[in-house]
Subunit: 324 residues, 2 copies
């Protein structure tokens, strides 16, 4: 297995990314090859400084990258030798099996949908955040911010994508899916959420456990997957970040609350596209990069993309029927 | 000034409500009369037990109340002698100037719109929560859950209602209004939020400071008023409750974080209706009831309802034009 790493992506690159790759290398099986995409001279310099043999990595040299302030689609088109564009080119040609970047989220999405492709049947790809849970496994919250105006069919597909992620990556049997809502009753919510409730209730594919309210998040083990639109999901996840900032400001150190340090998160896959692309947090330091790389290997090994393809075959048939 | 208190409303009534009224009485000016609406025998029993002279209160006797599980509109119609129905009747006749209840939120809304009335020009009344802020004043977040499908004209009016609340009740000069969004840029958000941004940007009535993101809540003093629809507002406020539960479970005691104990909150006014009606939390204990009563007096003294009426005169004219 070959995993590409964007060495120039993230606020602290290339130090964070090379050091993170070194940390990850020490934990991975010999059949995994890390392919570092970035400035060869700098990669070798950093390795040398660390007394680490850079020849264990494969290096694809480039000095071009897409900055955080650039327009993702324009920059992606204008910079074919940027780390992200090269990463997706190598995914498409099969030179790598998974790709991880803490660089521009927008450019990662552009790459996954244009150089890569959306899995047939999937209406809208999504990104899922694995949030802390008092139970054994993290809670997968999706959409984390890509589709702020998602309709019920899209939200219903998020339930399926989230279930597959929870099942194959976190090994949760029959994941419990809850709909984020403003009350426990079926008739609560806005129009889209009410319609989604009906789709989920009638579904045989999803283990739907009903609504979950904001005050049931994080401290009760009620669901493995939480479905919401990208607007609500983004606000929820960023509010958790706000509380983490508060803990730090108030000098509170607590093992469980430390899990809300999203900077240490390993990254989130783009679900619903035909390749393994993992987006890391822009502020990632070496430990977060290490976790992102290990998570990319994990998602690749779980063959999540194939599982999603299989699950969405029925939608593909439906789409074909519509086109006939 | 005469303030009505629903003695039978809330999970711990009538103990919580009578004891809370006694606490409030000790702090109020002699020109404020507390009118306790509820079971006279029980009120007198509890006062006797506390060695407190019940004659300082005016008592309006009834044993009927609207339960939390009842359908608000039906129960309100069928129980004209319930504490909430009596409260709104007394508000309408001018027998009381403000009314506070920790009972059924739904019945309070029904009462405020049917026995009371919506201020001309206001499209949708709202409830605003005063959330903790690291600055001097609480942040007014609205809507807290009444209108989950609010459109841009409604959200724009929330900005005005929230500004008036912040200005006259918390005495904030020229309150800063922010739009809850998923990015700092103008073009971010869902369709409704983008349209609201344009209305706020062009407005001379609102001191609009732009978008606020979830990770800027509670630990940065960025805004006095935060505008969102009732779905998002409800999720945000309940998520803060979830974190408060987490603190308690982790045995964290911190002065600032203790402010997130919404059980101690004094209650929230229904903004946009032509009377002062304050809704308390159902789980209110005596301290929360005390704060709710003091807040009701405060809102009544601030003449908030009159300020809102004046501000909305222009919308009323617009409505008249539409009808002509």
């Amino acid at each position: 297995m070959r995993i590409g790493v964007d060495v120039l992506g993230g606020d602290f690159a290339p130090d964070s990314t090379v050091l993170g790759s070194i940390l990850a290398y020490k934990e991975i099986h010999s059949d995994v090859k890390l392919v570092l995409i970035g400035d060869e001279i700098k990669i070798k310099e950093i390795c040398k400084r660390e007394h680490f043999d850079s020849s264990v990595f494969e290096i694809v040299h480039t000095t071009e990258f897409i900055g955080m302030g650039e327009h993702p689609a324009k920059a992606y088109a204008q910079k074919p030798n940027s780390t992200i564009a090269l990463g997706f080119k190598m995914l498409a040609s099969g030179e790598i099996d998974g790709f991880a970047s803490a660089g521009s989220t927008g450019a990662m999405l552009v790459g996954s949908m244009y150089t890569g492709k959306v899995i047939p049947g999937v209406i809208r790809p999504t990104i899922a955040i694995s949030a802390p849970n008092v139970g054994l496994n993290p809670t997968v919250i999706l959409d984390a911010g890509i589709n702020p105006d998602a309709k019920q069919d899209v939200l219903f597909q998020y339930a399926i994508l989230g279930s597959l992620y929870s099942q194959y990556v976190y090994e949760v049997k029959n994941p419990r899916v809850a709909l984020l809502n403003i009350g426990s009753e079926e008739e609560k919510g806005n129009l889209v959420v009410k319609a989604t409730y009906q789709l989920l209730k009638d579904s045989k594919e999803v283990n739907f456990v009903g609504n979950i309210e904001g005050n049931e998040l994080f401290h009760i083990d009620k669901a493995d997957v939480v479905v919401c639109d990208g607007f609500v999901g983004n606000v929820v996840l960023k509010e958790a970040e706000a509380f983490y900032h508060l803990f730090k400001k108030r000098n509170i150190n607590d093992e469980y609350l430390e899990k809300f340090n999203f900077e240490n998160y390993g990254g989130t896959p783009i679900l619903g596209v035909d390749q393994v692309a993992i987006i890391g947090h822009g502020v990632s330091q070496k430990k977060a990069i290490r976790t992102m790389i290990l998570h990319t290997i994990h998602v690749t090994q779980a063959e999540l993309t194939n599982k999603i393809k299989e699950a969405f075959k029925k939608w593909q048939k439906y789409e074909q029927l519509l086109q006939e």
